[in-house]
Amino acid sequence: MTEKLLEVNNLTTSFKIGSEYFPAVDDVSLSIQPNEVLALVGESGSGKSATAFSLMGLHRKARIEGEVNFQGQNLLKLNEGKMNKIRGGDLAMIFQDPMTALNPLMKIKQQIIETLKIHNTKAKNEREAYAVELLDRVGIPRPDRVAEAYPHELSGGMRQRVVIAIAIANRPKLLIADEPTTALDVTIQAQILDLIRELQDDLNSGVLLITHDLGVVAEMADRVAVMYAGQIVEVAPVRELFKNPQHPYTRSLLNSLPTESMLGSKLHVIQGVVPALNKMDRTGCRFAPRIPWVPASEHEKNPKLREIADDHYVRCTCYKNFSLGSETPQNIDAEEYQIETGARGGSVR
């Protein structure tokens, strides 16, 4: 195995609700090599974004435990000043919502120059030209004019390109892309994905791609980690994951997609909802309540990720005899519709 770019060990990020801490990211370990795209998938509330924000050190009030090793340093031990040197430099992030990620009061070029200034990239008099060059690089037509524009003058796709231009300004070694194309139309999505692929090749960087779009995952990723309720439940190379998915959650997700083979038939529905952070049963298999037809004896008491094939890891033993269609009642128990109160992981920052 080659040198790892990022190694996350037992990352646990807990948020305070009331007087107690609840882990939104629970004992997550993952690694990324240079030039590798690792996709992190899961429903909203599964802890994908909380993981990304923890890596970037953007959670101020959360309690974060574990290790995030990047370039020989544990990022979680660094103070804010040192973190600022890395953040936006070797470790950069593309945010989900281009409408809010940009400062509405600053011209596009100022926003790019700002990050160049912080990381001392390029001489002062070269920065403006470099900003325009970056805009050109991400495929913005007439970059010199866009540089002088304010964010509200640009369309969503253009703004997302600007966000990407800022992220790659300092040639990051690791790029964290949090739902980079969710807000965009398919044709623009295709362009943005091409762009990320191209830049990654060019800079030889690693990418942590967070998304809930399994089509995007299939196209972009080298490896995939599936998250449910704060835990990674399955990790596998992309081909293996789509060809031979094992964990019941992964299989349920893949079957709920309206693909060509599902035409004319009912889509698979996962019963119930993702449990709220403060109402979650943290003992045993967390997916068990949503596959009630699987007998308790199939689950492990204390589910661990195990390697079942080369590079393919699955949590819990319930995948072994799992079948999707065995029992999918039309009417979901009223009990399943427990009110969800309290905050979800992503909203407490």
Partner: protein
């Protein structure tokens, strides 16, 4: 028989400017769209943001002004100048965002009962069982009746939106991106039960979406919009198996597929289509940059191609 017929619909917005704030130009949000939807079927309206699909839906609802064109519902003209035909109880809308389309200060009971109260004088005692029946229909437990929207997840909220939309037994539902704010697993729930309800109530639906996979799953006919005009229209399988307009081809090629064996091919195909699009797209527009009028290829399949000759 067509329940909804839209003929040459135009919705233009004036751009004002200059010294006296005079009308300089028009934004042609919808520019000559004709759609007919047979009773009991679902028509998918697809396009990128800004293509005019929502504006078309809203024009049918009477939520924005119509510059010209005619909208017929069940044989009655909706946008006539003089006497207004009140069919609003027959046409209902499901909105995109289940987080903002429900009043956070109203309880589920009041949200769902509101359209009924608008049209019928009913006592509370009559309304409660009616609302409960609707909740049951969309798969929400009776206990939801006196809860507030924030107590529900996204999928459940969208169910409340659907319960409100079907409260008056409408004939036509306009669903504007009903699942684009939802996770795939929740999306599957909502799509399944929308299909059920449609069959049960023999509803006609206009399904506005940008996700072609969802549209293919839900709709019998599809219309593709580009900059306020339809560029292609036909049965779902015609659009997917035999797309004719370069824009449709590009849209279909851009959908990421989960079939890992085909990825290389898909990417190559997408690149090819994109090159063809970049090279030839101008030929698919007239001098003013508008799509050509639709021409029939088969009985159901119509494409905006330049007139031959």
């Amino acid at each position: 028989m067509n329940l909804l017929e839209i003929k040459d619909l135009k919705v233009h917005y004036p751009i004002k400017g200059g010294f006296f704030n005079t009308v300089k130009d028009h934004v042609k949000a919808v520019d000559g769209v004709s759609i007919s939807i047979p009773e009991g079927t679902t028509y998918g309206l697809v396009g990128e943001s800004g293509s005019g699909k929502t504006t078309t839906g809203k024009a049918v609802m009477g939520l924005n002004h119509v510059t010209s064109g005619e909208i017929f519902f069940d044989g009655q003209k909706l946008n006539s100048k003089g006497k207004k035909v009140d069919v609003r109880d027959d046409i209902q809308m499901i909105f995109q965002d289940p987080y903002s389309s429900l009043n956070p200060r109203k309880r589920v009971f009041d949200i769902v009962a509101e359209p009924i109260r608008n049209y019928h004088k009913k006592t509370r005692g009559e309304l409660v069982p009616e609302v409960l029946g609707l909740l049951q229909r969309v798969g929400l437990p009776p206990g939801s009746l006196y809860k507030y929207p924030h107590e529900f997840s996204g999928g459940q909220r969208q169910r409340i939106g659907v319960a409100r939309a079907i409260a008056l037994n409408p004939k036509l539902i306009i669903a504007d991106e009903p699942v684009s704010a939802l996770d795939v697993s929740v999306q599957a729930q909502v799509l399944n039960f929308m299909q059920d309800i449609q069959q049960d109530m023999n509803l006609t639906m206009m399904f506005i979406a940008h996700d072609l996979g969802v549209v293919r799953h839900m709709c019998r006919h599809i219309g593709i919009m580009y900059q306020g005009r339809l560029v292609e229209e036909g049965r779902t399988e015609e659009i997917f198996k035999n797309p004719q307009h370069i824009y449709t081809k590009r849209l279909i090629a851009a959908i990421p597929d989960t079939d890992v064996d085909e990825i290389e091919n898909n990417l190559a195909f997408r690149q090819m289509v994109k090159e063809e699009y970049d090279r030839n797209f101008a030929d698919h527009l007239d001098e003013e940059g508008r799509a050509f009028p639709l021409q029939s290829i088969t009985e159901t399949h119509r494409v905006a191609l330049p007139v031959k000759g």
